[in-house]
């Protein structure tokens, strides 16, 4: 039974509450819900987390921004081609600190998703992000990026306008900025499309978010030639927040309520905001040079490999 089936059961129980007026029965059902959640939703498989990260009701980037920075002003366009709606960017105040906020935005309905292109950005989206980040660097504003994308859009127009070039340019520039950059992966973090906003001083991840090199479906279809094996692929790929924390790819996990962020949105927003401000208060004490050095040091150490030691070669027979 996957997480969606469990969720349906919880929803059924909640529906019973609204039908029942009797207070005694309500208390009983509420207890049962808590017990059920505790028992079934505490430990989730990797595939469950994939399903939660893609959940229809999962809060989108705009929900986070509206809660954290109510005065958010959105800025449009890359000044070169057009405005990409799958990436939103602008300026907002979080706890009295002005941030440049850039995020990948999924839609809530089909129409909105078509407009947002299912949060799969085109090159102009990345160039808009870069423009806003350069602006932030100019005005010494910290940058906050929220990642939620299945990946960069693979299409004719995107290739013609240099998708690879746009992402590469973002990676290069982001590694050189000297303002604090904080990244939160709030849903799906798919491949280079996610990394193009994720070269940061602090990378945080919601508990049920995922971050991977390609989708589990894509992985299964390449390795086993069968995209139905995606649940198995999700286990193998190590894409959950806990795995990535162990690999020190991310710095911090932000806990979600039981059953996913959509069960208690306000608490998720509040926790995320607290985590962001906590990390920012650590970063703001550092000088620009320190920030640059620490970030580049961190990037330099990514990787998992070994080098043969040539120092003791004298004993080797030839």
């Amino acid at each position: 039974m996957d997480i969606l089936a469990k969720e349906r059961k919880v929803k059924e129980l909640e529906k019973q509450i609204s039908e029942l007026g009797n207070s005694e029965a309500v208390v009983k059902i509420k207890q049962e819900i808590t017990r059920y959640k505790e028992k079934e939703m505490r430990k989730l498989s990797a595939w469950d987390r994939v399903l939660l990260a893609r959940h229809q009701q999962r809060p989108t980037a705009m929900d986070f921004i509206q809660f954290m920075a109510p005065d958010f002003i959105e800025l449009h366009g890359d000044r070169l081609f057009r405005d990409d709606h799958s990436i939103i960017g602008g300026i907002g105040t979080i706890d009295g600190v002005v941030f440049t906020i850039i995020a990948q935005q999924k839609g809530k309905s089909l129409e909105e998703n078509l407009e947002r292109n299912f949060a799969m950005p085109h090159p102009e989206g990345y160039r808009k992000a870069l423009r806003l980040m350069q602006q932030a660097q100019k005005f010494k504003r910290p940058i906050l990026t929220l990642i939620d994308t299945p990946g960069a859009y693979p299409g004719i127009g995107a290739e013609e306008r240099g998708q690879g070039h746009a992402i590469a340019q973002n990676l290069l520039e982001m590694s050189q900025f000297t303002v604090p950059i904080i990244t939160v992966i709030i849903g799906e973090g798919g491949s280079g499309g996610a990394l193009a906003l994720g070269v940061a001083n602090k990378v945080m991840m919601l508990e049920n978010a995922i971050y991977s090199i390609l989708s589990p479906e894509g992985y299964a279809s390449i390795i086993w030639k069968d995209s139905n094996l995606a649940p198995k692929a999700a286990e193998v790929m190590k894409l959950t927040a806990y795995d990535l924390k162990e690999f020190s790819i991310i710095d911090r996990i932000i806990m979600e309520p039981l059953g996913g962020a959509h069960f208690d949105k306000v608490k998720t927003f509040q926790d995320t905001k607290n985590a962001i401000m906590e990390e920012f208060n650590k970063l703001r004490r550092l000088s620009p040079t320190e920030l640059h050095y620490l970030k580049n040091n961190k990037i330099r150490n990514y990787g998992f490999l070994q080098r043969f030691n040539y120092d003791n070669l004298g004993g080797i027979k030839r």
């Binding site: 960069a152 859009y153 693979p154 299409g155 004719i156 995107a158 290739e159 013609e160 306008r161 240099g162 998708q163 690879g164 070039h165 992402i167 590469a168 340019q169 990676l171 290069l172 590694s175 050189q176 491949s191 280079g192 990394l195 193009a196 070269v199 971050y211 991977s212 090199i213 390609l214 992985y219 390449i222 390795i223 193998v236 790929m237 190590k238 894409l239 990535l244 690999f247 790819i249 580049n296 990037i299 330099r300 990514y302 990787g303 998992f304 490999l305 070994q306 080098r307 043969f308 030691n309 040539y310 120092d311 070669l313 004298g314 080797i316 030839r318």
Partner: protein
Amino acid sequence: MTSIAKTLHKRKKIKNNLKIIQEQSSFAKAQKMDVPEGLYEKCPSCNRTVNMKSNIANDYICKHCGNHFRMRAIDRIRYIVDEDTFVEKGLGYITLNPLFQDGYEEKISHYKKTTNLDDAYIYGFGQINGQQCVVGVMDSYFLMGSMGSVVGEKVTKSFEYAVYKKLPIIIFTASGGARMQEGIFSLMQMAKTSAAVAKHSKMGLLYISVLTHPTTGGVTASFATLGDIILAEPGALIGFAGPRVIEQTIKQKLPDGFQTAEFMEEKGFVDKVVHRKDLKKTLAQLLLMHRRVA
């Protein structure tokens, strides 16, 4: 033993070790490997069979239609770098299996045997028509030239070596993208290599990237497209997403010539498409133009 004798002894030992290292280098090992006389290959462009040996002598260019074949890294170095000037650097890297994937280690050891390389990238110091530079070459015969931790590390190292020696760097890319068997570690190599390019660029040094068939995925989206000057070989496939993925997404057939080097030149993402026969001359000329005047 006196201190002088000690030093001499130490120096001798180091020299000895260096000799072993040179013998163990991929370049030395692969040079011993030869292609047998009677081996034929089909040209993917004109469908005629070509003798492999004479094809290699012809710089892997089809004598019938002028199609550029994929080139082994070792042949590329032999062709581009002046004779006896190449010194391979960054030896002894060992690819690990961070996600404990089934069959990955076997795959790696198989490719190690067939290509004689540590991983899909080798770099070193060399001269091109007398101009000193760092040359890095990806080998698409090694697991489609995919970028894992070792490739990312070696690319980064080659930039750092170029910074240390204050030399220009030339990288020949040929890759299917990031290596998915290493999962998130491969993805992070994109950030690592891009940051290395930035470090090199900040020193005011020249970086020429030459895109060869095929350059796609994570490599296109990192160091391949960050060159000061970007050259490409005719007919090379260059793009971010592979053609099959795009066709599946948009449910249409792609137009002819989509994502080729000429297409990218027309769209403005490649400085110049250079025929393989002119490549060495062009590179030498560019290096000469960027020579540091003391």
